[in-house]
C-alpha cells in the first residue's frame, strides 16, 4: 500500500515526525518521481539533460520543476485515454495558464486528502456552508479554473451551500441575514478567496453598517493569496482581528497551488502554515537556489506525495517565505511550519519588443 493510503487510513494527517518523514516521505517521493521519469518524456529529458539525480539521500537534493513550466508546456505521465480532468490556473486574461492533467485515481485522492486535512480542523459534523463567491463561477465547466476547483473541493465539507455574491460579485446582504437567522445556533463554515472575503464580504458588511453576529464556533477558511489585497494594506493579523470582531474566532488561511491540489498547507491555531504528512517545504536562496536553513527567507519549494499523473511532486514556486521550524509548533501538529510573505519580484522587461503590452 502506498504511503498516501497509509496516511489516509489514519485520522490525523499531521503526525509523522522528522525521523520517519526523512526516510518514508523521501522514499515515496523518489518512487513517484521515478514513475514520472519512466512515463513522461518531458520530465525524463528535464532530469537527464540536467544531470539531476533522483536517487538522493536527502529531500533537499531532489530536482524541482519551476511552477511556471506548467504554463509553458504540457507535463504529464498518463496517456490521453486516461485523462479524466484538466485543471487550469486562474491566470488573468492574456496570461498563459497552467494545465494539470489528472486521471480518475489522482482526482479522487486529491479530494480525499483535502477532506482529511480540512476535516481535522472542522471536525466530523458537516456544517451549513456560506460561500463567498458567485454561483456562476462553477456553472461553466469549460472554464474550470483554480477558483472553481477550490469552491467545489471545499463544498463537500459543508451542506446547504449558500453563495453570497451575485454575478457581479456584490454581497447579497438579505441572503446573508436570512442565513444567519436560520443558523442562530449552528456553527457555520464560511469559505472564499482571500481578496473576495475581504473586499466583497467584510468591507460590504462594514459599509452597510448592519449589526451582524455569526454563530458561535463558526469557521472561516480562505486562501488564494494576498497579492490583490496589497494595495489595501491588509495583512493576516488585521484580517483575523477584523473577523474576530464579527464573532468569527476561527480564521484559517491556506496556501496551495493548482499543481498540488489536495495537499494544501493550512494555517494552524498559532498562525503558521503547516505541512501535512503528505507535504513538505523548503526555502531556497533567491539567486543560487541553494536550500536555506530555518528562519532564512527565500523562494519556496513545495513537495507533495499526491501528483501521480503529472510530475508535480517537487515544484519551485515564485512565492517568498520562511520556514520557522519542524515538529515543534505549539499547535501540536508535526511537520514543518512556515510563513509566506508574498510573490517574488519579477524581472524587468527591457529591450525593443512588446509595443502592445501597454
Amino acid at each position: 500500500m502506498s504511503l498516501v493510503k497509509n496516511i489516509l487510513a489514519q485520522e490525523n494527517p499531521y503526525k509523522m515526525d522528522f525521523a520517519i518523514k526523512k526516510i518514508e516521505f523521501l522514499k515515496e517521493l523518489k518512487k513517484l518521481m521515478n514513475f514520472h521519469y519512466n512515463n513522461s518524456s518531458e520530465f525524463r529529458n528535464f532530469v537527464s539533460n540536467s544531470n539531476y539525480n533522483l536517487n538522493v539521500n536527502h529531500i533537499n537534493e531532489l530536482p524541482f520543476i519551476p511552477a511556471r513550466l506548467f504554463k509553458l508546456m504540457d507535463l504529464r505521465s498518463i496517456p490521453d485515454e486516461t485523462v479524466f480532468k484538466v485543471m487550469t490556473s486562474s491566470g488573468t486574461s492574456g496570461q498563459a495558464v497552467s494545465r494539470i492533467y489528472l486521471d480518475k485515481e489522482s482526482s479522487l485522492i486529491q479530494t480525499k486528502v483535502l477532506s482529511q486535512i480540512i476535516g481535522s480542523f472542522l471536525g466530523k459534523k458537516r456544517r451549513n456552508m456560506l460561500i463567498i463567491d458567485s454561483q456562476s463561477i462553477i456553472k461553466d465547466r469549460k472554464k474550470f479554473n483554480a477558483r472553481a476547483a477550490g469552491i467545489l473541493g471545499f463544498s463537500s465539507f459543508g451542506k446547504h451551500h449558500k453563495y453570497l455574491l451575485d454575478d457581479n460579485l456584490n454581497l447579497d446582504i438579505a441572503e446573508l441575514k436570512i442565513a444567519l437567522e436560520q443558523n442562530e445556533n449552528n456553527p457555520l463554515l464560511i469559505f472564499g478567496f482571500t481578496f473576495l472575503v475581504w473586499q466583497q464580504f467584510y468591507q460590504c458588511i462594514q459599509d452597510s453598517k448592519i449589526d451582524i453576529n455569526f454563530p458561535k464556533d463558526t469557521i472561516l477558511i480562505h486562501g488564494g493569496g494576498w497579492k490583490r489585497l496589497h494595495d489595501s494594506r491588509v495583512d493576516n493579523l488585521r484580517f483575523k482581528k477584523s473577523f474576530n470582531e464579527l464573532g468569527i474566532l476561527k480564521v484559517h488561511d491556506y496556501y496551495g497551488m493548482i499543481e498540488q491540489t489536495g495537499s494544501i498547507f493550512v494555517e494552524c491555531e498559532k498562525g503558521y502554515l503547516h505541512c501535512s504528512d503528505y507535504s513538505d517545504i523548503i526555502a531556497r536562496d533567491e539567486l543560487t537556489l541553494e536550500a536555506l536553513n530555518f528562519n532564512e527567507q527565500g523562494i519556496l519549494q513545495v513537495l507533495s506525495l499526491l501528483p501521480s499523473s503529472y510530475p508535480g511532486n517537487s515544484i519551485l514556486t515564485e512565492d517568498i517565505g520562511t520556514i520557522i521550524g519542524e515538529d515543534d509548533c505549539k499547535c501540536g501538529k508535526k511537520g514543518k511550519y512556515f510563513l509566506v510573505s508574498g510573490r517574488m519580484k519579477q524581472s524587468e522587461v527591457r529591450g525593443c519588443s512588446d509595443t502592445r503590452a501597454v
Binding site: 518524456s41 518531458e42 520530465f43 529529458n45 528535464f46 539533460n49 540536467s50 544531470n51 539531476y52 520543476i65 519551476p66 511556471r68 513550466l69 509553458l72 508546456m73 507535463l75 533567491e286 539567486l287 543560487t288 537556489l289 541553494e290 523562494i299 519551485l316 515564485e318 517574488m344 519580484k345 519579477q346 524581472s347 524587468e348 522587461v349 527591457r350 529591450g351 525593443c352 519588443s353 512588446d354 509595443t355 502592445r356 503590452a357 501597454v358
Partner: protein, 407 residues
C-alpha cells in the same frame, strides 16, 4: 482636448480628434530640407542637453544615443549622392514606439526628422523615469525650435485600431518597433496606398568566437571581455542585438581550450564588477533552462543556478531555441569546425553577429554561404549594441527620403 489623444509635446492646441487629423492632413514639408539644417540644430541641442544633465548618468543608453547623434555622420556620400536624381524628404512619418524602457525608437524618428520629415510618434502611456527624462529634454529643445514644433509630435492614445488607421491614412511612412505580435497586428491595419512601412519585429543575436584567436596568446584581451560584458549586461541581455548564443569555431580541441580560457576570464571579470542580476532574472534563467532541457533542446552541465548560466545546445533546429530565450544572463553554446557549419546555423531572425577573431575573409566567406534572411550586422564583440544608420537591413536615410529622377 477631450478626445482620445493625449499630447506629450505641447505646442499645439487641438479642439478635438478631428481637429488633430485635419491639422496633420494640412501639414507641408519643404523639399529643400534634405538634409534639414534646422533639424540638425535641434537634434544637436537635444543631444547636448542630455549630455549636460547629470541625471542622464542613470540612463547610459541615452548617453549612447546622444553621442551617436553628436558624432555619427548620418548623411554619407553614398546615401545622398545627387547624380541623376534629386533626393527629397519622404513626407509625413508615423512612428509606433515600444512600451518598454527603451528609447531606440528615437533613433529612427530623429533620423526621419534630419531627413526633413514630419514625425508623428505614438509612445506608450506607461510611466518610466527614462521616458519622462527624454520628453522633458525634447520639450525644452522644441521650445526654441519653432519649425520642429510642427515636425515632431509625440502623443499617446489607448490601443485603438481605428485611430491607427486614421493616422496611417494620412502619412507616407509607418515605422513599427515592437514584438512579432505587434508588427502583425499593426500590419493588418491598412495605410495610405502610397505609404511605406518599416517594421522592427523580434530579432535574435549571437557571437562567433574563432577559438584559435584566443589560443594564440592564451588570453582574451581586457577590452574584449569588457566589450562582451557591455553587450550582454545593458538591457539585461534583452536588446535584440545582445548575443544570446555563442558559437565556437575551430577544432574540437581548440574549442574546448578556448572556452575554458574565455569563461574563466569572464567569470573573474564578473566577480569584480557589478552586474544587474536579480532574483527575478535568476528565476527566468531557471525557467528557461528547465524548458530547454524538458524539450530536449539543451544539455546543462551546471548544477547551480549560476550567473551567467551556460547551456549546451543539443538540437539547434528548433525555433524554440531562439523564441524562448529570456535574456537575463543566459548563454546557449555550440561548437562548429567550419565557417560552413556556422552558416548553416543562421536563421531568418538572426540580426547581429558579433565576433572575436574573424578575419575579413572569414566574414565574407560566412556571408556568402548563408542561404536565408539571416544576419544584418557583423561587428566585433563590444560593438553589438551600437546603432547604425543602416538597421535591420534598412538604410534609414534611404527609407525616409525619396529620389526624384531627373534625366
Amino acid at each position: 482636448m477631450s478626445g482620445k489623444f493625449s499630447f506629450i509635446t505641447n505646442f499645439h492646441h487641438f479642439d478635438s480628434d478631428e481637429d488633430f487629423f485635419r491639422y496633420v492632413s494640412q501639414l507641408k514639408i519643404d523639399n529643400k530640407d534634405f538634409p534639414c539644417k534646422k533639424a540638425e540644430e535641434f537634434v544637436k541641442n537635444f543631444s547636448q542637453s542630455i549630455l549636460l544633465d547629470q541625471h542622464s548618468r542613470t540612463f547610459p543608453e541615452l548617453i549612447v544615443l546622444a553621442n551617436f547623434f553628436k558624432r555619427e555622420k548620418i548623411f554619407l556620400s553614398s546615401n545622398i549622392s545627387k547624380n541623376k536624381f534629386i533626393q527629397v524628404p519622404l513626407g509625413k512619418t508615423f512612428h509606433i514606439a515600444p512600451s518598454n524602457v527603451d528609447t531606440i525608437f528615437l533613433y529612427s524618428s530623429l533620423i526621419a526628422l534630419l531627413c526633413g520629415n514630419i514625425c508623428l510618434i505614438r509612445i506608450s502611456s506607461k510611466q518610466n523615469p527614462q521616458l519622462d527624462f527624454v520628453i522633458e529634454k525634447l520639450n525644452t529643445a522644441l521650445s526654441n525650435h519653432k519649425l520642429m514644433q510642427e515636425r515632431l509630435l509625440l502623443f499617446n492614445y489607448e490601443h485603438d485600431a481605428e485611430i491607427t488607421k486614421r493616422i496611417s491614412n494620412l502619412v507616407d511612412s509607418r515605422v513599427v518597433w515592437g514584438g512579432d505580435d505587434t508588427v502583425r497586428q499593426i500590419r493588418s491595419i491598412p495605410m495610405n496606398p502610397l505609404a511605406r512601412e518599416i517594421v522592427f519585429p523580434n530579432r535574435f543575436s549571437l557571437t562567433v568566437v574563432k577559438s584559435s584567436s584566443i589560443l594564440k596568446s592564451q588570453i582574451v584581451s581586457k577590452d574584449t571581455i569588457k566589450g562582451f560584458f557591455n553587450d550582454t549586461n545593458y538591457f539585461n541581455q534583452q536588446a535584440c542585438s545582445s548575443p544570446k548564443l555563442i558559437i565556437w569555431l575551430g577544432s574540437d580541441q581548440d574549442n574546448s581550450q578556448a572556452r575554458n580560457i574565455f569563461w574563466n576570464q569572464y567569470q573573474s571579470f564578473i566577480s569584480a564588477n557589478i552586474t544587474n542580476d536579480t532574483p527575478g532574472m535568476a528565476m527566468d534563467r531557471f525557467v528557461a533552462s528547465s524548458f530547454y532541457t524538458a524539450n530536449d533542446l539543451v544539455f546543462s552541465n551546471i548544477s547551480k543556478n549560476d550567473y551567467p548560466m551556460r547551456l549546451e545546445i543539443k538540437d539547434s533546429s528548433s525555433p524554440l531555441i531562439r523564441e524562448s530565450h529570456p535574456g537575463n544572463g543566459l548563454f546557449l553554446e555550440m561548437e562548429k569546425n567550419s565557417i560552413d557549419g556556422i552558416a548553416k546555423e543562421m536563421r531568418d531572425i538572426d540580426q547581429t553577429l558579433s565576433h572575436i577573431g574573424l578575419s575579413e575573409k572569414d566574414i565574407t566567406n560566412l556571408v556568402m554561404q548563408i542561404t536565408n534572411r539571416g544576419v544584418d550586422k557583423i561587428v566585433p564583440v563590444g560593438k553589438a549594441l551600437d546603432f547604425n544608420v543602416i538597421w535591420d537591413g534598412y538604410d534609414l536615410v534611404e527609407q525616409f527620403s525619396r529620389k526624384i529622377v531627373v534625366n
